[in-house]
């Protein structure tokens, strides 16, 4: 440290003593300040690194430091702010009543309303859902929370928070304003409710919160001092309104798109569909499909009301799949005790109708079991499908489904369990059984109805599945020919659901049992061989619903290749009739013109590669055209001579199409192109067609009236409902390609069959003459199912000849569900009599396995013998001496 001269020390002491007087009035600690200043000078001196500190050195430093300016005369009290700082204003409301009212209507009522609505969904159940998303819930909760913060800030004002609260209050005013406007129509009713009934505060809560926010802002400004301004009103308000709008934007955009899509102008409608594909919210569209949107139920209630039928069409066009292929949306947000209200509003408008329609919440498939018996000699199979539905909702529900039958299959048995007893169906004319069903449904009794709805498709309806976990059980019996891939192998597909209004759980499995007297196998390995009775080969397994409809799970059944004929006397004819079935090698007549129609619906793109790969198997010397059903009909390859090079050049994979498309225009165009050929074939590869966007009358007329209608071979690439096929039901020229494996293999098999070098095995069934009767007696008798298959064909022939009455009579006699007949189970005999129907006698219905006449005779003899023996034993029993001793 440098030494100080005496004069330097004296200079510093003089300076410090000189300032003491002025410092004493400043409120500072005089000693502390002088010490600080002394220390400061020492640091400065040390920094100068002097050899000796002179008076001049100290003088220079002190000159720079200067003399302290006199400070304000402030009384020195601990932590008391300087008078130059703003004094915190005095807080509090002008009156305690006002403060209490603001707390009640600005905080407690809105907060209570939010909690109540969140728990009960009361408003959501009857008006609209004010908190459709968690974002909305946060927004509306913020309003009373901000009001509370402002209320407290008025009581205990602190300048530090004023600006932030100003903004927050502006935000709350913005949110409150939007909700107050939304509830404005309900305000008069709420006031009446409060005056008359004493309740109705809930619809008033948004308005009261909004008004209280305004008043609280005024109070906050007052508490801050009249001179003070409070910032953040308009920007905060704007932000609040914007936040509500942003969160509601998806709903608004969907409503706008729906309005455009429902336009009468095709161009506007197409624009609406495109809009919805980009901006639409699927859940809101689904809600519209179930009839709850637009008019009410949404935070944005100004949208155009779209009827459910139109919304379903729009949904398909937007997403390319049926609305009922996905779980139903959450309809209204009713919760707690308001759930009942919600269920009332999910009323099933399609009950007893002709459509499967929307999914019903709470209705599910509880059990499913299929038992199939294959008759390899007769090359047919009989499958019994036992279904049990469960209803967890609070209302009686109707279970409806479309079922795909095996190719050529026909329903020959329908059983319903009523009070634990099996009741057999009555078979009658289609309209007759439908009328009977509708009448009984109206009376809320126990009917089940089965009718056809397209080639190899049936509609199954049963009502009522009792509420509260009640169950309903029914059984379908289906007889179907095996599809012969060779003389010694036949294929059988299981029936499966293509459309349903009930839920099948992800983990749900169908139990399957298949047996035959010859070996059977399931190449996909889902069904395993099971030891059966002696001489019986069996497969058993459990399949998920998606697996049940998968072509790869087709069952292969071996059969004796030398058995090309079979016969049965089990007919329902009044005369001693025998039906003979012959399996014949039928040369394939190759088409001279093939029009390939490919569905352009979204989701089908995955099949384009398989289609292109299979095309190379098409014969080269035929006319060929490729049409894509996308926004009408696009001729991808115009009609021209086919060649291997042309088929190789088909590049469907470059086409991508969003949404669902109407296939009718492309099929009509295909019909036009096919008309000029001698043996034309239209191959229609498609996915589900849940909506008929255009009328199919023109299409049906073309196939129905033409003297030489083209073969329409439909190839289902993905299972699902098909309204176009429903319209073509009963037309002989419309056939389905049996799907046995992946699409490429199945199409390749079809196209390879058109080379002209192959033949297919075909069935010919007819009432037999005397020679056949001899064969029959020689032991070639087959199951009575054979007669049912003949009868089903005969019904088609009679329909084609427009002999509908004869067709209905024949179908009823053989207990078959055909395009002109149906099956219905009613609860009482009186209901059957009223409907002019007769339930099938239990002994006349087929069973698994079908008892042959010999079996029945043997069973009767055994029963007789047992009865006779029991009687004899009773007669020969010794008399008990204890009872008869006297």
């Amino acid at each position: 440290m440098s030494p100080w001269t005496d004069s330097a020390k004296a200079r510093l002491d003089q300076y410090l003593s000189g300032i003491r007087q002025s410092l004493s009035a400043s409120g500072a600690d005089v000693n502390e300040v002088t010490e600080d200043l002394r220390r400061h000078v020492e640091v400065e001196i040390a920094a100068l690194n002097l050899t000796a500190v002179t008076e001049q050195d100290v003088g220079r430093i002190l000159a720079r430091i200067g003399v302290p300016e006199p400070g304000p005369a402030t009384p020195v009290t601990a932590a008391s702010p300087s008078p130059s700082l703003p004094q915190p204003p005095k807080g509090g409301f002008p009156s305690k009543l006002g403060a209490g009212l603001l707390l009640l209507f600005g905080v407690l009522l809105p907060l209570g309303t939010v909690v109540y609505e969140f728990l009960s969904g009361a408003c959501a159940g009857v008006l609209f859902d004010p908190i459709p998303t968690s974002g909305h819930a946060v927004l509306v909760t913020l309003v009373p929370v901000v009001n509370l913060a402002v209320w407290m800030a008025v009581l205990h004002p602190h300048p530090r928070w004023r600006t932030r609260l100003g903004w927050a209050n502006g935000f709350a005013i913005g949110v409150g304003l939007v909700y107050a406007l939304l509830f404005l129509p309900a305000t008069p009713f709420a006031l009446i409710g409060i005056l008359v009934l004493g309740f109705g505060f809930v619809p008033l809560a948004p308005l009261s919160a909004f008004l209280c926010s305004l008043e609280l802002r005024r109070q906050l400004r007052r508490a801050a001092g009249e001179r003070s301004s409070l910032r953040g009103l308009w920007p905060g308000l704007g932000l609040g309104v914007a936040a509500v709008v942003v969160l509601t934007l998806p709903i608004i955009l969907t409503q706008v798109g729906l309005g455009m899509a429902d336009s009468d102008s095709p161009s506007e409608s197409t624009r609406g569909i495109r809009w919805l594909r980009t901006w639409g919210k699927e859940e809101d569209l689904l809600r519209a499909c179930y009839g709850h949107t637009g008019r009410s139920g949404e935070l944005y209630p100004w949208g155009k009301y779209i009827i459910p039928e139109t919304a379903r069409t729009i949904y398909y066009r937007v997403y390319g799949r049926p609305f009922n292929s996905v779980p139903p949306p959450k309809l209204y947000a009713g919760r707690a005790r308001w759930v009942l209200v919600e269920k009332e509003f999910t009323w099933d408008a399609d009950q007893a109708g002709d459509r499967v329609a929307g999914r019903i919440r709470g209705l599910s498939l509880a059990a499913s079991r299929q038992d199939a018996v294959i008759y390899p000699e007769a090359a047919l199979a009989y499958t019994e499908w036992t279904l049990e539905f469960k209803n967890d909702s609070g209302l009686q529900r109707e279970a409806r489904s479309q079922v795909q039958l095996p190719p050529g299959g026909v329903v020959s048995r329908l059983t319903l369990w009523i009070d634990g007893e099996e009741r057999e169906a009555a078979f009658g004319g289609r309209s007759q059984v439908k009328t009977a069903y509708k009448e009984v449904v109206q009376r809320r009794r126990d009917p089940v109805l089965v009718t056809t709805c397209g080639p190899d498709r049936i509609l199954v309806q049963c009502f009522p599945v009792p509420p509260g976990g009640g169950r309903m059980k029914l059984r379908l019996g289906v007889v179907a020919p095996l599809v012969l891939t060779s003389a010694d192998t036949g294929c059988l597909r299981s029936p499966f659901f293509v459309e349903r209004n009930f839920t099948i759980g992800d983990q749900f499995q169908h139990s399957l049992w298949v047996e035959s007297s010859q070996p059977v196998e399931a190449p996909a390995g889902k069904l395993k061989p099971e030891p059966g009775k002696p001489g019986v080969h069996a497969l058993r397994g459990q399949l998920r619903d998606a697996d049940l409809s998968a072509p790869v799970n087709t069952i292969r059944a071996h059969r004796p290749a030398d058995r090309s004929s079979a016969s049965t006397s089990g007919t329902r004819a009044t005369t001693n009739q025998i039906i003979l079935q012959a399996i014949r090698d039928k040369p394939v007549t190759p088409p001279d013109r093939v029009i390939l129609v490919v569905d352009g619906t979204k989701g089908l793109e995955v099949t384009y590669r398989a289609i292109c790969a299979a095309l190379v198997r098409l014969p080269a010397d035929i006319d060929f055209a490729l049409l894509l059903a996308r926004d009408g009909c696009e001729e991808i390859i115009p009609l021209q001579k086919g060649s291997a090079d042309l088929y190789r050049r088909v590049a469907l994979t470059k086409f991508h199409s969003p949404g669902g498309h109407d296939n009718v225009p492309a099929l009509i165009r295909a019909g036009e192109l096919a008309a000029e050929a001698k043996a034309p074939a239209i191959v229609w590869i498609h996915g589900p067609q849940p909506i008929l966007l255009d009328s199919a009358d023109e299409l049906r007329q073309r196939f129905d009236r033409s003297a030489n209608p083209p073969l329409l071979l439909e190839v289902e690439a993905q299972p699902g409902p098909n309204r176009i096929l429903e319209k073509l039901d009963g037309l002989k020229s419309v056939r389905s390609l049996l799907r046995l494996g992946n699409l490429e293999d199945d199409l390749s098999r079809l196209f390879a069959g058109w080379t002209g070098k192959l033949s297919i095995l075909d069935y010919v069934r007819e009432p037999a003459g005397s020679a056949a009767a001899i064969d029959h007696q020689e032991g070639k008798a087959a199951s009575a199912h054979l007669a049912r298959l003949w009868a089903a064909e005969e019904v088609s022939r009679l329909c084609a000849a427009r002999r509908f009455d004869d067709a209905v009579r024949l179908a009823a006699r053989y207990q078959l569900v055909t395009p002109v007949s149906g099956a219905v189970v009613l609860e009482t005999q009186a209901q059957y009599e009223r409907a002019g129907l007769q339930a099938a006698p239990p002994e006349s219905v087929p069973t698994v396995p079908e008892p042959s006449a010999a079996h029945l005779l043997l069973l009767a003899l055994l029963v007789l013998a047992a009865t006779h023996r029991a009687r004899r034993r009773r007669e020969n029993r010794p008399i008990n001496p204890k009872t008869h001793g006297d």
Partner: protein
């Protein structure tokens, strides 16, 4: 006009000096010499060391800042100053006030323009 303006700036400087001290300490604890040199270097503040030490003392007495001595190997003991909780509060209030004042003045100016 110059005298008037000079007087006015002196008043303004006096008004914000305490806020500047509190703000300088808001970031971190500083020792007296460093703090004083920092504030002296603020342009426009026009303050001398002699003025700052009494102010620091007064703020400490009022409880808005705290002080502690720590021995230093480089020279005399250092006196470290730090903001107290009350100091933080009053600083925020002063900032809000100043902001409001600015906002009000700006609004007046905008009104004059229109």
């Amino acid at each position: 006009m110059n005298d008037f303006f000079d007087n006015w700036t002196v008043q303004v400087r006096k008004g914000v000096l305490e806020l500047c001290i509190l703000t300088a300490l808001a970031e971190k604890e500083r020792y007296g010499y460093e703090l004083v040199k920092t504030l002296v270097a603020v342009p426009g503040l026009g303050v001398t060391e002699g003025t700052l030490y009494p102010l620091l003392s007064r703020l400490r007495v009022q409880g808005y800042i705290s002080a502690r001595l720590e021995e230093s190997s480089e020279g005399p003991a250092r006196k470290y100053y730090a903001l107290t909780a009350d100091g933080t509060k009053v600083m925020a209030a002063m900032n809000d006030y100043l902001e409001d004042l600015n906002h009000g003045i700006r609004k007046l100016q905008e009104r004059n323009k229109t």
